[in-house]
Symmetry: C2
Subunit: 234 residues, 2 copies
DNA sequence: CAGCGTTGTGGTATTAAATACAATAAGTAT
DNA sequence: ATACTTATTGTATTTAATACCACAACGCTG
């Protein structure tokens, strides 16, 4: 089957970025959603995203768009999948690229901006109907996020800088829907480059837990020099 | 910073697919390259790829393009990364999406077609200067391929349907640049759903090795029902 | 067909890690 | 002090990874 298409017809697409920002709070992984104040899909909740400019590199576009819509800066965005069904966007052929990031919700204060009317953190398993094919994008991206959880220390990007071992455990338990024996969990992670702080929890109604930080310096040197591999459950 | 851009300017991009076909032969992982008989980059070696049609879904486009250029059909292509530097294509803004697949080289007979002048399997570590940003695309995609090797049984897509355990071992040794103890290797893989065939190698100058197949049926049922996880080296 | 070289296969002893489960210590609230 | 909640340590058992040795099976050569 041979198609005859004019050159111009090939150069008629648009390209967008969708930024999936994940955070952890109250034992649940959340995603940042925005309410669209603009057609198409005005009034719908959506993943923050917009079109890429003609002379803009993709990583820069993702950063710019995220900041324009939510005022978030200095977020380490990573590339995810591509979604390009011909009719996914009512205004034309728009192929979109998911970019994802993990942030500390307690230190992150997104504000609705540009065409965003409202903005909200929603637990990933409570997300309802979204604009465009954003449900599909979320599902696929969250799946990949969880896979990365196993072999990259990215979960520490969503935990507070000072966290308890229980918070770390809860994060993994939520992500993978499992229960872990507490004493054994602590033994497994004793290989990780964690810094045990002198501080403890405050304002809790029980024995305060010791706070820890992830030692990124040590982690990098371990990886670069020796044969250290981050691994949470084979 | 606020840009003012007309609607039309946003719908002026093009989108392409690049198909990275990997195979294994003589102890080396190869990639299928094509020689371009067309501008731009006429005469250069490149990853087979072309523009997506306006009404075409991405997976279909990848299949069509691969077939048009190499006459390969029924290849299980998977999505890889996106590459979209503003000036990566001399004719305009073309964002490209890598699709990758593993094939059995002994059963695969690609033929140059359409604008492809010539076609060649090249070991991944012997690839030289390619068209566009294809070296970058290859490096990034091969890297991801190797990561998948660890936790997905995709290596069996590039081995012959009937393979020896030594071939399997060689593949992993090449990919990760390591040496593995043969007896131990065989012990590790004894958990895998392999079918030990009644057949043996033929026309070899030494004791013929037993041939094996990967049991995809059993693999699927193991994964779906129980807690089986494919894992080659933590 | 004996003996050599090559490759495949089986075994063991050692080490390290994952698991299950019990017990203790350290705080808070009354 | 006492009860109660949560954090932390300990042990015994099982399981898997590793290193290394020995042997078996086959083709080839003389």
């Amino acid at each position: 089957m041979v198609y005859k298409i004019k050159f111009d017809q090939f150069f008629s697409y648009s390209f967008s970025m969708d930024c999936l920002i994940f955070g952890f709070s109250n034992g649940k992984i959340h995603i940042l959603l925005v309410k669209r104040a603009m057609e198409p899909y005005g009034g719908y909740w959506a993943i923050p995203g917009d079109l890429v400019y003609p002379d803009e590199d993709l990583p820069n576009a993702a950063e710019r768009i995220l900041e324009e819509l939510t005022e978030l800066k200095n977020v380490a965005l990573r590339q995810g999948g591509v979604f390009g069904k011909p009719n996914r966007h009512p205004q034309g052929r728009v192929i979109t690229n998911a970019y994802l990031a993990m942030v500390r919700m307690n230190e992150t204060n997104p504000q609705p901006s540009s065409w965003v009317e409202e903005l909200r953190w929603v637990p990933v398993d409570e997300v309802e109907m979204l604009a465009f094919d954003h449900n599909e994008i979320l599902t696929a991206t969250y799946q990949r996020l969880k896979e990365r959880f196993i072999h990259e220390p990215i979960c520490f990007d969503m935990l507070p800088l000072k966290f308890t071992l229980n918070e770390l455990q809860q994060l993994y338990e939520y992500a993978f829907g499992i229960c872990i024996d507490k004493p054994n969990f602590r033994k497994r992670i004793k290989n990780l480059p964690l810094i045990e702080l002198k501080e403890r929890q405050e304002n809790v109604k029980h024995r305060p837990a010791t706070l820890y930080s992830f030692d990124w310096e040590k982690y990098k040197s371990l990886v670069s020099e020796g044969h250290f591999e981050f691994n949470m459950w084979l």
